[in-house]
Amino acid sequence: MEKTITTNQLSLILIIFTVALKLSVLPAITCDFAGNNAYVVSFVSLAIDFLLTFVIVIIMQKIPQKNFFDLIKETLSKPVAIFLYLILFFYFFLKLLIALLELQDYYIVALFEQLNPFFFIIALMLLLLFLFNKGFRTIGRLIEVCFWPLALGILFTLLYPIKNIDLVNLLPLFEDGLYPAYNGFARTSFAYGDYMVLLILMGKVNFSKKSTKKIMLYFASILYFIFSFYVIFVGAFGSTSVNKSLAIGELPLHNPNPSTFGRLEWLTIIMWTAILIIQTVIIGKCCCECFKQIFKLSDNKTPSIVLVVALTVVYASLYLKLESIIKIATSNVFAIITCVLHLLFFILLVISYFIYMSKQNKTKYAKQKGGGTDGEYNKKIIAQ
């Protein structure tokens, strides 16, 4: 049985997972769809995520011993659970692919002029193979150690261009009506839905009394950071936001100030590189967990190897094709599928929880009434 993670580790994993996919290509894509209302789109998406995450965390705390698979198996059926995990596997696999392509794009644009794809893929896959083999507790510990230096480095991205925000770039709201904002919200939905990682972490968390408060506080902080990032991004770049395909790299690099005071943005670049790798590992671990549950495996070796092999094949064929994948992920059809999936899993979890709790309550009630064990109670029910 995998060791449990603490509330602190869960909070930090959630933070890194939330930041994934939101600060690289997404700001420019959101501006492309929603114009200067991009920050409104991010606010609405993040607010919805916050509410749904709150509900899920409460459910997790109520039934800390249950994981999502077992919950669905008990309340609906095993085939349904396997089917849902299959969908989750492909969902996280696609997110993993996008994260890897963003990582590779970032390396090429920000760090290296020439990057040998062969060496890059081999080195990266070996690293991922090693990390996928570890448990969530190890990943959580890694993030606990690295978190504050990483966070401080990323905070610099907000500091550089703050004084160059022009309110004129942020206003007026909904100049072309509500459609651009709605379109942006729908088309970028794949990058949100961060509570999906909690479905994987269900049953693995060691909750305490103040856990919910702590988790939601951390989560609210990162959502506030992301929202501020979008406000500063749109406020600083205005109409040229759509040109900034790697926002986290370009916000400090191409901010309105000339480079006469030195290259401080390297701090952000280095920290973001580390965050990209960690978030790739978290998403990959989610894929491994889905694989384990589908095939009822107990160790991490087999899913890690299978995932890395599949990833190598797919990633190598999609090398430098981030734009194509982004086009698919932001297409109308995919947007509908994503929104439906996000809602579906949430609704299924809530329904399963209530079914499970009602069964538990019936068992307790019967025990209190008739005295006896659960087995005897069940025999009575069958006899009736």
Partner: protein, 411 residues
């Protein structure tokens, strides 16, 4: 030692690292250092030739074992149909790829700004070669000559050019003249951008002896000609609208722009022929100490106007008069801002404002960015106003600007 080797031989990570090293070693061992393959360019100048080609001049840093700064700088030129062509020509002639990672300044000749600058800057905004947010400036001479003047100056690298541009940015432009900012301003509804215009003057003969270029054996062959040129800043500003040079900004416009901007720190007001209880027939120069500018965007009978509430703290910098040479006139505790002086300041400001509004309306240059501001803060009323116009480009014709100045003296 033996135990360490035994421990390592049981470690899988060690074997992974060894595998990676063996795999990458053959290809990396023969790689050349960037110094041998890259030309480090700090300044780029762009001109147009008579045949319509683009001429790119690059001020490159070639490290030499010399304490003379100029000995480390070389100028290379290349021509081509496009910027890429011209840079390739430089690469071919120098045997090194042009590296723009340290390029901080791009100089455009005024001739080239009369066509669309965006065509010229297109390379720089797209290429991953340029990783800095380079400053753009213009010159009324050839940009090649300005680069030669930059090289021949005694300051470190092109620091003098950057110093001058930074000075302009802080004092009169009040915005960065970087590529990023150029595109940002050009794609706003107002579409105006300012560029500093630098010039060149021939240095006097006494300056020539101060440069040791002619004595240094590693300087370029044209150093004797270059050492005679100096960068000159007349504080002229080019107005760029929709990517093209339109005209130079007048002194009145510069003053009003500075006065109305929130972030200006170096406003100077000069009033003449002041006769009051402190001075007679004097010229007084007041310097801004502190300022707060609050624009209020309003409509009056459907016509837009901006009311600027400006709180200005000043102190007297200089009094020029032959009649007032007395100890009292240099008393630092004396408040020289009499009612007469205040009235004169207000009159002068109103005159300059009137001239500025007139020029803005005649030339249809929205130097204050009023379209964007009205569109952002008074959107529906602004759209209603625009719908009343036959030509929406003429939105300035009914625009009015009022200044309510609250001026105080600081001892």
């Amino acid at each position: 030692m033996g135990s360490i080797i035994k421990k390592l031989s049981r470690n899988k990570i060690f074997y992974c690292m060894l595998f990676l090293i063996i795999l990458m070693f053959p290809s990396t061992i023969y790689m050349q250092s960037d110094n041998n393959t890259r030309l480090i360019v700090s300044t780029i100048g762009i001109d147009k030739t008579e045949s319509g080609e683009v001429e790119v001049t690059a001020l490159a840093i070639i490290p030499n074992m010399s304490t003379d700064t100029n000995a480390n700088l070389e100028i290379f030129s290349g021509k081509g149909k496009t910027i890429s062509d011209a840079l390739n020509s430089i690469s071919a002639n120098t045997g090194k790829h042009v590296g723009l990672a340290h390029c901080d300044s791009i100089i455009l000749s005024l001739d080239i700004t009369k066509d669309n600058i965006m065509e010229i800057l297109d390379y720089f905004i797209r290429t991953s070669n340029l990783t800095t947010n380079a400053t753009i400036l213009t010159t009324d001479k050839k940009s090649k000559e300005l680069i030669e003047a930059t090289k021949s100056s005694n300051n470190l690298l092109d620091l003098s050019l950057r110093d001058i541009v930074s000075f302009q940015e802080e004092n009169s432009l009040l915005q960065n003249t970087t590529i990023e900012n150029f595109y940002r301003k050009t794609f706003t509804k107002s579409g105006t951008f300012f560029l500093p215009i630098l010039s060149i003057e021939e240095a006097s003969s006494s300056n020539e002896s101060s440069s040791g270029n002619s004595q240094s054996s590693s300087s370029s062959s044209s150093s004797e000609n270059q050492s005679q040129k100096k960068i000159k800043n007349d504080q002229k500003i080019a107005l760029i609208q929709e990517g093209k040079f339109v005209r130079e900004i007048s002194e009145d416009e510069k003053f009003i722009y500075n006065l109305l901007a929130q972030h200006s720190n170096y406003l100077s007001i000069e009033i003449e022929n002041i006769n009051d209880q402190y001075v007679t027939n004097s010229l007084e120069v007041y310097q801004q100490v502190d300022k707060f500018s609050l624009p209020l965007y309003k409509f009056n009978s459907g016509k837009p106007y901006v009311q600027y509430e400006i709180w200005l703290n000043t102190m007297v910098n200089e009094i020029k008069s032959s009649d007032n040479f007395a100890f009292a006139s240099i008393d630092s505790l004396q408040n020289f801002l009499s009612n007469t002086a205040k009235d004169e300041i207000v009159t002068q400001i109103n005159q300059k404002l009137e001239n500025t509004v007139k020029i803005m309306q005649q030339e249809k240059n929205d130097i204050l960015g009023l379209y964007s501001k009205f569109n952002a803060f008074k959107h529906s009323e602004w759209q209603d106003y625009l719908s009343t116009l036959d030509d929406k480009e003429n939105y300035l014709e009914n625009m009015d600007i009022k200044i309510n100045l609250h001026i105080n003296y600081v001892i």
